[in-house]
């Protein structure tokens, strides 16, 4: 009942929102002109590197006149804003899409301005965006799997840490990256087992259960690391998965080396994205999975085993988080350090919400958050006087803004976090 009231309210405030959006578009254009365009030398050029370092070139560097580019971007933003303001409905349902476009143009303008008279390796930036997006997207997929079936999982962080530690430890002992990866996935599953039994069988508050798992995993991984892995270095040297170059595809200009010269984690992420998107929305399994998260009573009445469906959801989700954890040690660093996930499990949670519980939405959010992260490390090199910390804050702030309903609302599964009680047991 409350949902309908809410919808009506949103429709009611819609015109205001359209005007605010139009204002934002115009403001973005004016900022580009005022702060960026006016601040550069008229004859300055910006050089974008189109091949990441160390790879064979597929595309020559792009050299563009800075001020002209900035002016074009500014005019485009203002034009979109005026269109939005002039028409009563603005862009209507496509407003958020246009918002994304304006944001992208703003970022491009920022980069063009920041690299004026210098050179910025755009391919390198995109490459590191993608690799930083991998754990976030995988973590968000873990959250989607659990929460679409109605079990809140804020233990992604803990499961990731556990996967990272176990992957490094087992990978080092057995000398096999693949066994290490399997162990990482299984260690996630063990924690998922605990979370599942607590949340589904004992109906423990799922936020508390998740918090307990986070504390436990942080403690356990740090304990094992301090007691064994730091003193016996051979226990903490698993190595990393190397990149697999896909012949042919990897020589596509610009995107080839970024997308088709990666390690197993990146390819798996894409496979999982398609699998989960397809599974959730085009299969019987997915329908049942979502039904249990939206209206378990109705699902039960139709003969769906709510408990079993939820257990499977939590197990799959926790394995995914363990896999994401494996990325840190086996895919990126090649060594376990205490609390090395550094809150990425929580950013995954944010990416899941930001992506509106949709796999590709989460991937988009992961890319956005990965981009801010990748850009933050490059700001100092470019000599931009914006503190990197503020850039690193953006994922959190953006998530809060989204949650507050400023740019549309996340459609939370209705029974998310509510334990199911069988009637008349």
């Amino acid at each position: 009942m409350a949902t309908t009231t809410l919808r009506r309210e949103m429709e009611y405030v819609a015109p205001t929102r359209q005007r605010v959006m139009g204002g934002i578009f115009v403001a973005a254009g004016l900022i580009i002109w005022w702060f960026f365009s006016r601040a550069v030398e008229p004859d300055a050029v910006t050089k974008f590197g189109m091949t990441s370092g160390g790879l064979k070139s597929t595309m020559p560097d792009l050299v563009i006149p800075t001020q002209l580019t900035l002016n074009i971007l500014a005019i485009a933003c203002v034009a979109l804003g005026i269109y939005q303001l002039a028409r009563p409905q603005g862009f209507g349902r496509r407003t958020n899409l246009v918002l994304g476009l304006v944001a992208a143009m703003f970022v491009l303008a920022f980069l063009t301005w920041a690299a004026a008279g210098k050179s910025l390796n755009l391919a390198g930036l995109f490459n590191s965006t993608l690799s930083k997006a991998v754990p976030l997207t995988l973590g968000a997929l873990s959250g989607i799997l659990c929460e679409r079936a109605g079990v809140i999982n804020i233990a992604i962080e803990g499961m990731m840490l556990m996967g990272a530690m176990t992957g490094a430890l087992v990978g080092s002992i057995t000398g096999s990256l693949w066994i290490g990866l399997l162990a990482a996935v299984l260690s996630g599953l063990v924690l998922g087992l605990v979370h599942g039994v607590l949340a589904i069988k004992y109906k423990t508050n799922q936020i508390i259960s998740g918090t307990a798992i986070n504390i436990f995993a942080t403690g356990l991984t740090s304990y094992v690391s301090a007691r064994f892995m730091q003193s016996y270095q051979e226990l903490n040297n698993p190595g990393t998965f190397g990149p697999w170059e896909i012949p042919g595809l990897s020589s596509i200009p610009f995107f080839g080396p970024i997308l088709f010269n990666n390690n197993v984690f990146v390819y798996s992420m894409f496979i999982f994205l398609f699998l989960i998107q397809f599974g959730l929305f085009y299969t019987r399994w997915g329908l049942r999975h979502r039904a249990v998260g939206e209206h378990p009573r109705a699902a039960d009445t139709l003969g769906i085993n709510v408990f079993r469906t939820r257990y499977i959801a939590v197990f799959l989700g926790s394995m995914m988080a363990g896999f994401a954890g494996g990325y840190f040690t086996l895919g990126a660093v090649g060594r376990f350090d205490e609390v090395m996930t550094a809150g990425r499990g929580f950013i995954s949670l944010a990416a899941m919400l930001f992506g509106n519980y949709m796999p590709f939405g989460a991937f988009g959010a992961g890319l956005l958050f990965g981009f801010t992260d990748a850009l933050a490390t490059r700001l100092a090199i470019l000599g931009v006087r914006i503190p990197s910390q503020f850039l690193l804050m953006t994922p959190y702030i953006v998530t809060m803004v989204v949650l507050a309903g400023v740019v549309g609302r996340a459609q939370v599964p209705a029974a998310d976090g509510v334990p199911y009680e069988k009637e008349g047991g």
């Binding site: 109906k203 918090t211 809060m400 507050a404 939370v412 998310d416």
Partner: protein, 436 residues
Amino acid sequence: MGEEKLPTEKDTRNSKNAGKVLQEELLREATGGHPPHVSRMRRIIRALAIPVLAIFTALVIGGIFIVLTTPEFYAAWKVSPIEGLKEGWNILVTAYSALFTGAIGDPQKMIAALQSGNPLAIRKAFYPFFESLVASTPYIFGGLSVALGFRAGLFNIGAEGQIFIGAIFAAFVGYAVKGLPGIIHMPLAFLAGAVGGGIWGMIPGWLKARTGAHEVINTIMMNYIAFRLSDWLLTGLMKRPDSPNPVSPTIENSAKFFRFFGEPIRFHLGFFVALFVAWLVYWFLFKTRWGFDLRTVGSNPRAARYAGMSVSAMIILAMTLAGALAGMAGGNEVLGLNYNLAMAFSSGYGFDSIALALLGNSHPLGVVLAALLFGFLRNGATSMQLKAGIPIDIISIFQALVLVFIATPAIIRTIYRLKAPAEGEGGIMVTGWGGN
């Protein structure tokens, strides 16, 4: 997201027995949900059974874990299982006695020091005990913060960030304001910490009341914003000019909390401030009208709305107060202990507070007791790390176990074959992201 489990106005009007429902709800709330015939003593025993058994079980499992992760145990086990058990017992005794002497002190040393009459020796002998009290102090503030949230039906997972902001505010007032007498400067800096934490708590509270955005997500996000913010401040505006490290200038002497004994004991005024604040929270929650409203909103928002209480205002108030309490923990650490602000000074007080608020059943007295326990454990674990080589992270495992057992009393009841209570337990509210 955003729908509360509250009736719309239409529902309220349609409910014919609204008055009756309200009466029952308020009566239950006022009597604490217990039927009047259960004696006070039995109620206390019943209330204590689960926490005590939870702590005990966690210690046992922690002990087994310590033994199983010690290589010497396996070496002895290979000789013979009996040797293995003996060795295991030895490991356990070494570890837990180091924990005990680290937390309370070595009784022999204490007696010897008292007999010698040497003040320095006495202080050294009693140092562990007072150090444990020092470690408990931020836990009291943090636990009160989470507990107050629980009472209002809110999950303040953001105590950690609020502690950071509180510390930033307190440190700033501590070093930037000069020339004030201690009697003014010290409370001013401490209150600045409370204000900082309060602001940080108010934002998620306001968002929850205004838009229904879930406070768990928002407080987590606010945590990370706080970390980044303090990182930025400590490498920029608040950085001590003459230091290469990200650390703030030392606070003025007038802002420092009074220390009761000479070196090396660091026991300071903050502990008594914490006890006073705990009493204040008790008084607020159980003796004032606002406290009653706040608890009603927490235990039964429906009844609260029937009674004409402003649920939104109470949510904002509760989160602000919870933030302020956590901010005091930050202020306490800066003014009483570190005298400056450095990154990573808090080391998880905010997250541990969740466990101890639950352990203390969200009651100020329970929180103080639980905080003392956690403080002693933390301090003891430090010495366990030095003397027995057990990494201090063991207490996180221990705390996680306590948290699970307290939140799931059914496990403890199954292990110890306790009878389930006749009526459902109060427990913690079970809410989804959408608050319904």
